[in-house]
């Protein structure tokens, strides 16, 4: 089992009131699954994905990642998981403004201590695959929103993660580009990569093997 969530609750206290962001979330993900999370805006999709990715905490319940309770995973181990196992695609891209496209792509490889030549080859491959070779020396601010999103996806995929957590990866792309990304995800999934994506599009959701629907932080 890759991950198991049991009775997960998450809340914030605001003006003496407890506002629930996630309510009684229960599900399991096996390796090799392709899951889509859907729901209206504000329903807690991003929040759930952050909890799954251990970027955010929760207030109640149990969450086991690779059969280890998340709260007992040490910071160092978690950093290693991010480095070796998980790739994030953020809703708002989160590229490093001071680095060029090429350098942004290279960064995860640096943490994984690849050799220079290897890095070059892998970056070139990604640029090629996402059709952004011409943009490789530009800074994020010089790209359109969609191009930034592509770079964000490429950066998540470059280190060959076993689990991809993608928050609306195609939100800023046209339908053709979106479809290409979905095809790519499908292909990776076939190769054994587990994918959890948030999406508003029924069509994209259909690529997945399972859909989790959220409403007001609750699974329906």
């Amino acid at each position: 089992m890759l991950l198991q969530l049991h009775n997960i609750f998450k809340w914030v206290n605001s003006g003496g009131q407890r506002i629930f962001l996630l309510k009684d979330i229960n599900f399991e993900v096996r390796e090799g699954e392709f899951i889509s999370i859907m729901g209206p805006s504000g329903s807690g999709k991003s929040t759930l994905l952050n909890v799954i990715g251990m970027l955010d905490g929760f207030d109640e319940g149990e969450y086991q990642f690779l059969d280890e309770p998340v709260h007992s995973i040490k910071e160092k181990h978690r950093a290693n998981l991010y480095k070796e196992y998980i790739g994030f695609v953020f809703q708002s891209y989160h590229l490093l403004d001071e680095l060029t496209v090429k350098e942004n792509l290279e960064m995860p490889l640096l943490y994984k201590k690849y050799k220079g030549a290897e890095r070059k080859a892998m970056v070139a491959d990604m640029l090629d695959r996402f059709n952004i070779v011409g943009k490789k020396d530009l800074f994020p601010a010089q790209l359109s929103g969609g191009q930034q999103q592509l770079v964000g996806i490429a950066r998540a995929l470059i280190s060959n993660p076993k689990l991809i957590l993608a928050d609306e990866p195609t939100g800023n792309l046209n339908s053709k580009q979106g479809e290409e990304i979905m095809q790519l995800f499908k292909q990776l999934n076939d190769e054994g990569v587990t994918i959890i994506q948030v999406t508003h599009s029924e069509k994209n959701a259909a690529y997945g093997s399972r859909i989790i629907n959220l409403l007001d932080g609750r699974m329906i």
Binding site: Y82, K83, L99, E103
Partner: protein, 799 residues
């Protein structure tokens, strides 16, 4: 990875150029100030390190009490030598009698130069451990021998071999060069000792020197000692302190107390109050040390403020790096490394600034400081300092930011303002407190100098020139020279005097007068003058009359100054007699013929001393005072004077001083302090403003989006300016209220040292506060208005 870090660091620096210039430049400036002050302090504190026996050498000082006023100085009487040699030599390794430092004409073949130096006893070169370049260390053995500094020998002999050559001194006596010693460096005592001649020779040059052998009251000599191995300065002082008092009854009434002043204290701790050592220049060493520390602190505060402010912008980077797999330790290293690099860079610039400005500083501070390229302690302190600053400035972003959960920083819920704002505000307040205090301090120092400068001096120092005539060649030539100079048309009046116009070289006691209080121990400044003294100086006669050539009896006449009349309690002084106290063998009584206005001869910060001017019967002139012809330029006058001088004294170099320049020298120390503190204040303010500028631009940038939205919603430029400036102005006002009492306390204490001082006025403080506020408004507005005027579409797009 390192390359990636460096790239990020470099791009961060180059992308925000203004910020980088402010941050690196400000820190470099602060470091440069601290470095220069550090070098200056080092120079002051190692004064006399040149002498290998520094720790055991001392000068004998004497305190005497006149009318309850105790004065302390290095002048001692000749019989003391015999007393010491007869009974106290087990305390001393060496004992050396010495003359005052005086200038002599040295002539070899056609070369004639004037150099300062001393007559000393034979052991002097040994005691001072002079570095002999040529000849023998025991070079004062023969009475006709002379030792020269290397530069003097070079000026006299050029490439010729100097040893064994005979030079003419003061065109009077022949002396043979026995040794050449290395010039004593600038930051050591005796650095103006360019010749050394035997003490015994000195005693042959004037009758009074010989006569002084058993005169306990004639304090006209110096004595240096090196104490024995097995004793301490304190112990020797306690042994010798009453020697003079015990041996001589006549002077015992003044309670003469002897003490050793260790060589270590000569330069920095040579002030006395009531016979006690009370510090001295050391005060300024610490004062400037504190200034240096503060300026550096200001720069560091800036650096920390701006670095941390900046780093909050980089919270997102932390989040991204963490989600990609960076460990916390890696992030800490990255931030600390960046900070270290920037500090190192700033340090290099600081060194460059110091190297460039050291020449100017040396001139200003009257120093000869070299950059200590090869001093290991300098480099180790610098490295420590670089590391400490880098840690201080870098530890906040390194530790604080790296501790955040990625989601907080990525979602933007991480709020920069709340926790980090307060320390930053405190730092700004601290910065401006220091700056405002500096402004006040500098203004008061300048005011005090001007106050003393504007003090009426009593005579007309413009167009007055003095020529030193302390050589036998001039004996008996006064009348001749006076007539010649006046006839030449360059001089309208001339007089002679036994002291320079700008100093008092001699004091006398031992008079009685009608109505003198019982037991009154008078102490009067004593100057022997030619009849036209008052006339040549334009010194006003306030009662009675001036000396006159028409009254032969004036050779026994005396003029008193106004202070002396009050001091002696004379109701109607003119016509009264001053009689010698010594009734057995009295000198002729002096008749008071007039009272002259007080003139400042010594410190312009102190009251004028009671003084008497007697008729120079025996030709004791040390100076000719020449009133230049005001109808011609000074240059023309001097050319003529030099020509006349050379006609009569072809062998003596023509030397002269403008009295107003000599007088100006009295302000040199304070003016140096004023100028230096002015410069450091300007730098402190500059650094503080740089910091403020950086912070405002940071805040403006942080709130770009907010400003954009507000403007779209209708805010005016003034609204935005107000929003951005208000906070900073508040902080500066708080600083003012902290700085004013501190500055008042410190400066009031400083002024207490000057009996003639400026009164502290409230407007100085108000002005400093207004100045600080003005500077703040200008600095902040510059950024605020720019931000407020920016096109809202542009600022909104940056998100």
């Amino acid at each position: 990875m390192l390359k990636n870090y460096l790239k990020i660091a470099w791009r961060n620096l180059t992308k925000h150029k203004a910020y980088t210039i402010i941050n690196v430049g400000g820190l470099a400036l602060g470091m440069a100030v601290a470095l220069i002050i550090g070098l200056w302090m080092q120079d002051e504190l190692t004064h006399n390190d040149y002498f290998s026996n520094k720790d055991t050498i001392a000068q004998i000082f004497q305190s005497q009490t006149f009318n309850g006023e105790t004065g302390t100085g290095p002048a001692i009487p000749r019989p003391l030598e015999k007393a010491f040699r007869d009974g106290y030599m087990d305390n001393f390794e060496h004992l050396v009698m010495a003359s005052w430092n005086n200038s002599q004409y040295l002539k070899y073949k056609e070369t004639s130069i004037s150099r300062t130096g001393n007559f000393m006893q034979r052991e002097a070169p040994e005691m001072l451990d002079l570095n002999i370049i040529k000849g023998e260390k025991d070079g004062l053995r023969e009475i006709n021998s002379i030792m020269l500094s290397a530069s003097t020998a070079n000026a006299l002999f050029g490439n010729e071999e100097p040893i064994g050559k005979v030079i003419k001194v003061n065109s009077q006596y022949d002396m043979m060069v026995t040794a050449i010693y290395e010039d004593i460096p600038f930051n050591a005592s005796f650095n103006d000792m360019h010749y050394l001649m035997p003490w015994d020779k000195y005693l042959t040059t004037a009758e009074w020197l010989k006569n002084a052998e058993d005169q306990w009251g004639n304090n006209s000599f110096q004595m240096f000692v090196q104490i024995a191995d097995n004793t301490t300065m304190e112990r020797v002082t306690s042994v010798i302190k009453d020697v003079k008092k015990d041996l001589n009854e006549d002077t015992a009434q003044f309670n003469p107390q002897l003490m050793l002043l260790p060589m270590d204290d000569w330069h920095l701790r040579n002030f006395f109050e009531n016979g006690k050592q009370v510090g001295g220049r050391i005060k300024y060493v610490w004062l400037f040390g504190i200034i240096g520390v503060f300026v550096l602190l200001l720069a560091c505060i800036n650096f920390m403020n701006l670095s941390t402010a900046r780093s909050e912008k980089r919270a997102k980077e932390v989040g991204i790096r963490k989600s990609i797999g960076s460990q916390r330790g890696q992030l800490i290293n990255q931030f600390l490394g960046e900070s270290f690099l920037v500090v190192l860079f700033a340090f290099l610039i600081a060194v460059l600034i110091v190297v460039i400005s050291l020449g100017g500083f040396n001139e200003l501070a009257r120093k000869e400081i070299d950059f200590p390229w090869t001093l290991p302690s300098f480099w180790s302190i610098s490295i420590l300092f670089i590391i400490a600053t880098a840690l201080l400035a870098g530890s906040y972003p390194a530790l604080y930011l790296s501790s955040f959960r990625p989601v907080d920083v990525l979602k933007g819920t991480f709020k920069a303002g709340k926790h980090s704002g307060l320390p930053r505000k405190i730092l700004v307040v601290l910065q401006f407190t220091v700056s405002v205090a500096f402004i006040i301090g500098t203004v008061i120092v300048m005011q005090q100098i001007n106050h003393a400068k504007n003090r009426p001096i009593g005579y007309d120092r413009e167009g007055l020139v003095q020529i030193p005539v302390m050589s036998q060649d001039f004996t008996g030539k006064y009348e001749l020279m006076r007539n010649e100079f006046i006839a030449s048309g360059a001089v309208v009046e001339m007089s002679s005097s036994s002291s320079p116009t700008t100093n008092i070289w001699s004091n006398r006691s031992g008079w009685t007068w009608e109505g003198k209080p019982e037991g009154f121990q008078e102490d009067l400044a004593y100057t022997e003058v030619s009849p036209e003294y008052a006339k040549s100086l334009n010194l006003k006669i306030v009662a009675g009359r001036d000396f006159s050539r028409e009254f032969p009896s004036d050779s026994n006449a005396v003029l008193l100054n106004e202070t002396a009349v009050k001091y002696m309690g004379l109701k109607d002084p003119v016509g009264k007699l001053l009689k010698d106290e010594d009734t057995e063998n009295p000198s002729e009584p002096l008749k008071i013929i007039g009272v002259v206005q007080d003139m400042i001869a010594q410190s312009p910060y102190e009251p004028v001393k009671q003084g008497m001017y007697t008729f120079d019967k025996y030709g004791n002139a040390s100076f000719y005072n020449l009133r230049l012809n005001p109808k011609q330029s000074a240059g023309q006058n001097l050319a003529v004077i030099e020509r006349v001088f050379k006609e009569h004294f072809p062998n003596i170099p023509f030397q002269y001083d403008f009295v107003d320049e000599e007088y100006g020298e009295k302000f040199a120390a304070e003016e140096r302090i004023g100028r230096l503190s002015g410069i450091f204040t300007a730098l402190a303010i500059l650094i503080s403003c740089l910091g403020l500028f950086g912070l405002t631009s940071f805040v403006a940038e942080q709130r770009t989006k907010e400003i954009g939205v507000r403007k779209v919603l209708g805010a005016t430029v003034f609204n935005v300016w107000n929003m951005l400036s208000k906070d900073f102005l508040k902080l500066v006002i708080i600083s003012c209220f902290i700085a004013v009492p501190i500055a008042y306390y410190v400066m009031n204490g400083w002024l207490q040292e000057y009996p003639y001082r400026v009164i502290l006025k409230w407007w100085i403080f108000a002005l400093a506060m207004l100045g600080a506020l003005f500077v703040t408004v200008v600095t902040v507005s510059f950024q605020a208005i720019r931000a407020a005027k920016a096109n809202p579409v542009k600022s909104l797009r940056t998100e």
